[in-house]
């Protein structure tokens, strides 16, 4: 249905001998919302900058509509970028910022005026034309940055952590709004983020990267339900990752006990990583459980409790809506659908153990980009 627009073939990137991208192969379809997701330093921003033309890959080919564009400078590409921290022109007001690209393209002032006006309506900032960008709040600057890019009607919009500096509430609103704009205008979005929830919410396709290598490409559902390795399982949501042995198709051994599962295609007695999502575990009385363990920690999370359960030395994270006090002895049951089997990888054993669990676990991933300004602190000082 959709046709291919951008393709990266065997792209490598190295700075000072350090490999940032390692043989990246990726294609992006027309009108797709594709997200590059990974921790900082995984190469996602570099990939975006290669597509935008701000960096040339040390080797490999970048194709746009089948034409090689490695040597095409940014100003000749039909691609626009929403930069991290917006990069609005401080010497221009809101109107002139949005009109910047159209003026360079030498459109008539009437055409510019109507297109900027239309854009201001889309982003809900009508009446802000003459405002200095320094007097805008973070969310408003974000909207102007998006408008400044979209007003040029690019084929592709690149977004580099565009919501990173916004507070949580505003970020959620903007996620919905960006998705709406993308669908309404039918533009290809290539979105970079380290926030897995953002990626799952907005994307048609998620590309999970680590250390310059693509770990998995798929729909948000695929990535969440069928992670390819321990890195993806851990990075996308919370996962208990346990060593297991595949006895035969649809039968796996965990903690010396056989569990039916839905995966097949492994060698007999192949060691595997087993992912159990914290929300998939059913808690039952100790005498009727497949496994039994002691609760060692509990944190109230609003909708649910996070509890840590010690199963003979290996600690699991389980999410439950029922209260289980520390020290209680509980059982768990696992259905075949709750068990997901992954091949062993270089990430095996690195993730998925909650022995060193702290209540801040889900903040750790977000702390790499400190929110510098929030909606509540607009800089209105003249």
């Amino acid at each position: 249905m959709s046709k291919e627009l951008i393709r990266l073939v065997d792209c490598c990137m190295a700075y000072d001998g350090e490999q940032v991208l390692d043989n990246l192969n990726l294609y992006i379809n027309d009108s797709e919302f594709l997200t590059l997701l990974g921790p900082s330093g995984c190469g996602k921003t570099t990939t975006l900058r290669i597509i935008g033309g701000f960096q040339k890959p040390t080797s490999g080919t970048v194709l746009f509509n089948g034409v090689r564009i490695n040597d095409v400078p940014p100003h000749k590409r039909h691609i626009n970028t929403v930069f991290q921290r917006y990069a609005l022109f401080p010497h221009l007001d809101v109107y002139d910022n949005i009109a910047f690209g159209l003026r360079i393209a030498k459109l008539s002032e009437t055409e510019i005026s109507s297109r900027v006006g239309e854009m201001l309506k889309t982003i809900g900032l009508v009446g802000f034309e003459e405002r200095k960008v320094s007097s805008l709040s973070g969310g408003q600057m974000q909207r102007v940055a998006i408008a400044r890019a979209l007003v040029n009607r690019p084929n592709v919009l690149l977004l580099d952590e565009p919501l990173g500096a916004l507070d949580l509430r505003l970020r959620k609103d903007m996620q919905v709004e960006l998705k709406r704009i993308q669908q309404q205008m039918g533009i290809t979005f290539v979105y970079v983020t380290h926030d897995q929830e953002e990626a799952l919410t907005m994307s048609d396709t998620v590309v999970v990267m680590d250390k310059g290598v693509i770990q998995q490409i798929g729909t948000p559902e695929d990535i969440y339900n069928e992670p390819k390795n321990a890195f993806v399982a851990d990075f996308i949501g919370e996962s208990n990752i346990i060593e297991g042995v595949m006895l035969q198709d649809r039968l796996v051994e965990l903690f010396g006990r056989k569990f039916p599962c839905v995966d097949s295609g492994f060698a007999p007695r192949e060691p595997v990583d087993v992912v159990i999502r914290p929300e998939d575990v059913d808690i039952v009385p100790a005498d009727s459980g497949h496994l039994c363990g002691t609760v060692t920690g509990i944190t109230f999370k609003g909708v649910h409790y996070d509890i840590i359960v010690d199963f003979s030395g290996f600690k699991w994270l389980i999410q439950t809506t029922d209260f289980h006090p520390v020290g209680s002895y509980i059982g768990i049951r696992l259905g075949p659908e709750d068990i997901h089997i992954m091949k062993k990888s270089k990430y095996s054993g690195m993730f998925g153990d909650y022995s060193s669990y702290s209540a801040e676990y889900d903040e750790i991933g977000d702390s790499e980009l400190e929110p510098a300004e929030s909606e509540e602190a607009p800089g209105y000082e003249e």
């Binding site: 935008g52 033309g53 930069f83 990069a87 022109f89 010497h91 360079i104 393209a105 890019a149």
Partner: protein, 270 residues
């Protein structure tokens, strides 16, 4: 509010050596040299010196513009290099300032004299001697040579602070290199340009040594006249009046310059 006291020593310094002398200048400018009574005669006498005022402003303005034209590309180039090279180049710009101002100006005398280095060199290939010294050109040269670092420094400081992502954003929106410069880099360096021009113009307009050494009686600047009122003509009242008028002119010039940066931009002045 203890911190306020930290500014104390400076405030005392300023009161002693800026405010009080200004009051003294004002007093001398408005009193008669013989009777000591209040008079506006000193200020009225200024009209005789109008051509000298105008020449001073004119030469200082030309010097400022030449400094800007020479200094901007240098500041821009330094800002594009790596941090280590930047420190080295910046030091090179500062280097002439380690040598005495008087010595640097005297060196130009030796170069430009009728029997100086340049004239004796071109004399060997049959040209000259050219009238290099005691011209407006020589005075401007002296000003540019001495004050160029004061132009490069603020320009460099401002250019280095321009967010490189703004340049990328401009490229992203369709600008080639020339357009990036014209639409983004140059407008964003206006505070540096204003600051640089101020830092060159103010000392240049009030200089006397450069014009005495490199100029002639036809290139006398207001600084020279003020100096002579105190040292040779023994009319401190007229000298004070001239200083006062010069100061007001400088304030007007700075005020005009700052209008260009707009009201709420970061304005850097002396």
């Amino acid at each position: 509010m203890k911190n306020k006291f930290l500014a104390g020593p400076y405030l005392i310094w300023m009161a002693l050596f800026t405010i009080i002398p200004l009051v003294i200048v004002l007093y001398f400018a408005l009193t008669d040299s013989v009777t000591g009574r209040f008079t506006l005669a000193n200020l009225a006498a200024m009209k005789d010196y109008l051509p000298i005022f105008l020449r001073s402003i004119w030469l200082a303005a030309i010097s400022s513009v030449i400094c800007l034209i020479l200094g901007y590309p240098v500041a821009w180039c330094i800002a594009q290099t790596g941090p280590k090279v930047q420190r080295f180049l910046y030091m090179l710009v500062m280097l002439p300032m380690c040598i005495s101002f008087l010595l640097r100006t005297l060196a130009w005398v030796a170069m430009l004299e009728d029997t100086g280095i340049i004239n004796s060199l071109i004399g060997r290939i049959g040209i000259g001697p050219l009238p290099l010294i005691r011209t407006n050109g020589a005075v401007i040269l002296g000003m540019v040579y001495n004050y160029l670092p004061y132009m490069i420094m603020p320009l460099y400081t401002v250019i280095i602070k321009i967010d490189p992502r703004l340049v990328e954003a401009a490229q992203d929106l369709g600008c080639d290199h020339a357009q990036v410069f014209g639409k983004v880099t140059l407008p964003l360096s206006v505070p540096g340009i204003v600051s640089g021009i101020t830092m060159v113009f103010v000392p240049a307009v009030s200089t006397f040594y450069i014009s005495q050494k490199l100029g002639s009686s036809g290139t006398t600047l207001i600084g020279d006249v003020i100096e002579s009122q105190f040292k040779t003509a023994y009319n401190p009242n007229l000298g004070a009046a001239m200083s006062l008028v010069l100061m007001i002119l400088i304030f007007i010039c700075i005020g005009l310059m700052n209008r260009f940066t707009g009201d709420d931009d970061e304005v850097m002045t002396l």
